[in-house]
Symmetry: D2
Subunit: 350 residues, 4 copies
């Protein structure tokens, strides 16, 4: 049975792998500089963003991207507001602190930073002047760590607050493909994100590439900092064209005028996830929260959770107050309807 | 009227100032090395700790001490458990993050780190292996940021937990004089702290010195690290003898066999604080929490709080849920009974 | 004409690319943990090293590897001795300083750290106790930045010195394949390096892989640190199996009992480089220094250097005292005899 | 016999000590904020600088000042050009690297950064774009580590170069009193330094105070950064008024219209040093370099050097190529003509 553990458990989508093989014999100067693939990928991404005046950079993974961007947008005594579950506050081994910056979690519990909580943190941190870390950036994830999707309305409300307080908004887009192809985006588009965020990234690792993220930067401080910091922090690939080749393949629209693979692959992962969700709900299982994206959370009796873990590779996260276990299914570009149906067959047997 | 704002608002106690004047014409090599005063102070402090095998170092202030000790007891990916109100988590401008280490607050609300909360944080942080910051140190303050005093029982319970999990206990003793001369210490002694803590400091700045903290170190890693890190982080005084002279004056017992000034001054500050507390309680004002030390917290109607702020220099911290304002009075070695009575006169008039 | 600019200008060698394609549909947990390819690669590398008790880790590139290893082998006030041309002292944008550690260059001019110069630096740095950065690691490159190859005798002399002073030896093996297949190794073997170095890496990026380095660690401090630091510094690949798959392909010996690709590819690059060197010497051009490896340095009249730069993609480094320009040719696994002959044809025409 | 080891081996000058005693009973809010002494000292220093638009901050010592200023004037990938003997490159235990910044020494051998060497470093570091640390600040010391004094002409030549390249000039003024009261200043004034440096400090520790430096800042980035960084790095004194009181005493001109103590004390130290120099020269001893300030360097036969070390507390630095030993005498505000004559008597006997 296919493992529903994570979208990064897969290899590359066929069009991406094919591009890597096709270009393998080329020679390039390196470091994402001066090769046609990186330049073409930058052009395609800028066009998708609808802005010419953003910088597009490449990096090898989410943690590297997050630490370079946050370091580059802040100064030594500044910090970044986020939710308690934010990846930078949990699963990056203190990568932000390792750059000398502080992570300032809100008390939001649904995976979204709310203006009210951000304001509370901001007031607390700035109440005694220089004695406390000054918030300078708000970090959000789309989709969130709990599978949530930012609507345009919610996103604008936070950006409005940030504008008022002079903070920069940074969006971790490890699963931005899934977010923007979800109906829950409710009007939130790539163009709009590019207009309002100081920086964000389009995640390739979890959406059909072998590895790689494309970072879109408006913030002038980060535009200057990124090329240096990505090297200084060890995140600059010698064979930089590999990133260009993959993003070029992902954002080049097919000859038939269809959707670029980046969106098509993400949309497919969502569709499999919605099929899975509906199937489990129909069987009477209990979903945990809204997750209109390629991650689906359910709460199961411990024995049931264990079976899903053993047979479908699900991750079991934590015991809920009622003794049930929070369990996650992740669909990817590689998941098929048949894979989903196999899980539903298993579910039926439990 | 004397200001009850802070114990660091005062100058030096007479015996400390006199020692500085008396020794001013001496010449010394510097850097707390090889001068008689530092050596004598080290000897007196080791004797007070009842241990010969601890290192005694000097530093210029609390933040410098905390950041050097925590950096020296941890490695790059490790972190320090503390309460949300811990000085290192609030009023040190991200000094721990600036050394690359992470601060890991519990949800304790009373100023004390509880074993249960420490265990919860420890389990959470170690549940996914290398993906999260690993707790290596527990930071406690005595007195706490809320004026609390660690009893021997409470202290031992936390140390037992830390021993079991292999964490080091670090005690911020900015107000350790006040803590150990409080009846609430309930058997907790300097000897006992020196036996169980990896490191702690005896705060001079808030207890009668112009500046200075004496750091007592058992932890072998920190013993090696401290001399280098205190220099590298800019905390090593060229005229290091100034620290030795002051601590010598504070820990040398008087000819009549009485208590060393360090303890006498702290005990005096506590007594003034208890007199103030009782007086305010007698007048019907409402104390906020237990604070058996030189800091007293009361909740007042906003107008009343403002008068205490304006006339007695109190700090007003935050609005409580009932609309009253949390207000702090700090007594020091310099506070007299008359000073306290003036505040009580003011209180009577409100 | 093939570009002789750099060995990282190439794609992956056929056997490596084929392995990536072949395994693309597999699902894995990620992060180089618990997948068969990483485990098999570790086993093959351990066997090649002749030691069971070394840890084998993977990373994405040289700068990331260097900064994680040096941070993990040192403490905050320690530093690393190297030559002035060392990669960590020049082309890593201050990556070591960014981890808080100091780079301490010797005055060696030939690319090799000599015991005499290392001793001079060590004496200077330790002469005033804690006031100076303490050397803890010696960093060497094999091949060196100038194309040099460490002989067993030279290597042992430095290791003996380091042992005496209690320093750890770290070897940057970005081009270790080329070094160990060079006749100039003169008895230096992988087994011997694994026995004497605290840590080193086998460079894949410059020897036939898309990317990736295999880090071999004896040092207990680094063994514990590496898994955390590689994640904290953003160098841990989500699709970690990609590293395992490539190193497995590179170190698996062919069915016919021949040499593993890692060595065969490097040997081929050397052979092309020696052919090029001899050809240029035969034509009367002037080699710059000994470079018995896949990098060849020549000094040319400016006009000649420019032609090689324009047509063979050579890098021109600096003006030499005699006005000639130092120029580098790099051969790779992909360079053919025909490619070399084309350069020689060009040379003949100048 | 008085020790000629260092100017920081002394206590406070009488007028400074008296001010500390006189103000000891005052209460202040702390942290160099909102107390009359700090405000008055700032006013006096601004007036001495002839500029209203500079910020004046206080700190406790040279290393703390240097690391905060350099961190505050640079970004993560930037570095600071200085001489090899610069304090930041030698005796600060890697404090600049500990903030993540790189130290970039020139090859100047006389203690002064020359425009030619600075230019060489600048070209080298910027020749490969983002792959190398970018120089952003030039660090100079006045007096230099070798007792040299910057003339106006030399200073302007370096500042002109820095302006052209867009670098900031930072001046470590640990002994600026001695430098500006030396005839070798040759027109260099405090006003001129304040006009051309991005930041510099007036050293109190080595010129009659117990401790303390006054930092004068023009650079907008550092003006914003300093208050936060000095706290974050542990250099902010709780009893900040101690710094104000001392600098107020040092810069307040006496009622009789004479020179402020800061200059009078430094001038006195210079005069003692010149008397010592002339006396030793008259006795046939060999001076080492020009040192028109309170530090005098001589080269002696080893036996002679040892006697000066043993009896006059001189520091012996290194063996010179001719086998003689480089030996330093430091005079301070506390040195008297009689003290000098005692050394000369000793010299006569050798």
């Amino acid at each position: 049975m296919r493992m529903f553990r994570n979208d990064y458990s897969e290899g590359a989508a066929p069009e991406v792998l094919e591009a890597l093989v096709r270009t393998n014999a080329e020679q390039h100067v390196g470091y994402t500089e001066g090769d046609d693939h990186c330049e073409r990928a930058r052009e395609l991404i800028r066009a998708a963003c609808g802005h010419d005046d953003v910088a597009v950079e490449f990096s090898i993974g989410g943690t590297s991207t997050n630490l370079v961007c946050i370091e580059g947008m802040t100064r030594g005594w500044e910090g970044v507001i986020c939710t308690p579950e934010a990846h930078i506050n949990t699963h990056e081994t203190g990568a932000i602190a390792a750059t000398g910056r502080s992570v300032l979690p809100t008390r939001d519990t649904d995976g979204f930073v709310s203006p009210a909580e951000a304001e509370r943190v901001w007031r607390y941190q700035t109440g005694t002047g220089r004695h406390m870390t000054k918030p300078a950036v708000v970090y959000i994830s789309n989709t969130t760590e709990l599978g949530g999707v930012w609507s345009k309305e919610r996103f604008d409300a936070l950006c409005d607050w940030a504008d008022e307080r002079g903070l920069k908004v940074y969006l971790d887009g490890a699963r931005l493909g899934s977010a923007l192809t979800s109906p829950a985006a409710a009007g939130l588009t790539l163009e709009h994100i590019a207009r309002r965020c100081a920086a964000f990234y389009l995640g390739g690792t979890k959406n059909g590439m072998l590895f790689g993220e494309a970072v879109v930067i408006s913030d002038p401080a980060l535009r200057e900092a990124f090329p240096y910091l990505i090297k200084e922090r060890g995140g600059l690939m010698a064979k930089g064209r590999l990133l260009g080749v993959q993003f070029e393949a992902a954002f080049e629209r097919p000859a038939d005028g269809g959707e670029a693979p980046f969106w098509r692959l993400a949309r497919g992962a969502n569709e499999r996830a919605f099929r899975l969700r509906q199937g489990l709900l129909d069987l009477g299982f209990e979903a945990y929260g809204e997750a209109p994206s390629n991650q689906q959370f359910f709460s199961f009796e411990p024995k049931v959770a264990q079976r899903f873990a053993d047979e479908a590779g699900c991750e079991v996260f934590q015991e809920l107050p009622d003794g049930r276990l929070l369990t996650r299914f992740v669909c990817s570009w590689a998941t098929t309807d048949d894979d989903v149906d196999e899980v539903l067959d298993l579910a039926r047997s439990l």
